[in-house]
């Protein structure tokens, strides 16, 4: 018997699996991120720069904003799909969501690299 691949089903499975993987990574990153952030806040501007330029701090921060924004895009897409009142608004807000997440991710990554290089 031949099998028929459903595009929608395939996408949904991919969405589900990706969401689970990123959830687990984000949960593991959470204590590292919060500890680093608290130390950075205590040290004011120098504290933030020291955190961002330290290897562990930079990796945690890069991973946190990358995975965090990737998962936020997924989660916000679900919210939009639940509350968009028409096909047109659904498409518009889904695209806006993807665009905003990508732009702010780029801003964050460029800022981290600039601080890293300028240290």
């Amino acid at each position: 018997m031949s099998t028929v691949k459903s595009s929608a089903g395939h996408k949904a499975t991919h969405h589900f699996k990706t969401h689970k993987r990123t959830s687990l990574i984000l949960a593991l990153l959470t204590p590292f991120f919060l500890c680093g952030l608290m130390q950075a806040i205590k040290g004011e501007y120098k504290g933030f720069i020291d955190w961002i330029t330290s290897p562990l701090g930079a990796v945690v921060l890069l991973a946190f904003i990358t995975i965090g924004l990737y998962q936020s895009r997924h989660s916000m897409s679900e919210v939009i799909m639940d509350y968009a009142s028409s096909e047109a608004s659904l498409k518009f807000f889904l695209k806006l969501n993807t665009f905003a997440c990508f732009v702010f991710w780029l801003v964050g990554v460029v800022a981290i690299i600039k601080i890293w290089l300028g240290a």
């Binding site: 984000l26 936020s72 989660s75 919210v79 009142s85 801003v107």
Partner: protein, 132 residues
């Protein structure tokens, strides 16, 4: 149904027809945490850009970071982050087929919520206590 609603997809019953229970509250709070983290992540990226511009940019937002409003924002952010992480771990348990019984699901909903609030309170207390 909202005026102008033309989406033909089937809708789940509105939450007003459900009897309130802890697992339902947990689901709503999980979604709320998602929205808070979305805004917080965007804010973190903007602040990173400000810090990359130099000390003067930090001085412009310093007053807000070290104010009572800043401490409250840290509490809300850390509570949402911890709650989101704990709720996601519970979803992984559910995926493994464990903890579905209504009594267990309700009890864990309360436990996770209380845990998140306690952890966020302790973190905020430690942070504010360390300010010069």
């Amino acid at each position: 149904m909202a005026k102008g609603w033309n989406d033909k997809r089937p809708m789940s019953p509105h939450m007003s027809v459900w009897k309130w229970h802890p697992a339902m509250l947990s689901s709503i709070l999980h979604r709320g945490a998602v929205v808070i983290l979305y805004i917080a992540l965007i804010k973190i990226c903007i602040w990173l850009a400000l810090f990359a511009l130099g000390d003067a940019s930090f001085e412009a937002v310093k007053g807000l970071i070290y104010s009572p409003l800043g401490a409250f924002a840290f509490f809300v952010f850390s509570a949402a982050l911890v709650y989101h992480a704990l709720a996601d771990l519970r979803h992984l348990m559910w995926d493994a087929g464990k903890g579905y019984a209504p009594e267990k699901a309700n009890a864990w909903s309360i436990i996770l919520l209380v845990l998140a609030v306690i952890i966020a309170t302790v973190l905020t207390y430690c942070l504010v206590g360390s300010f010069k």
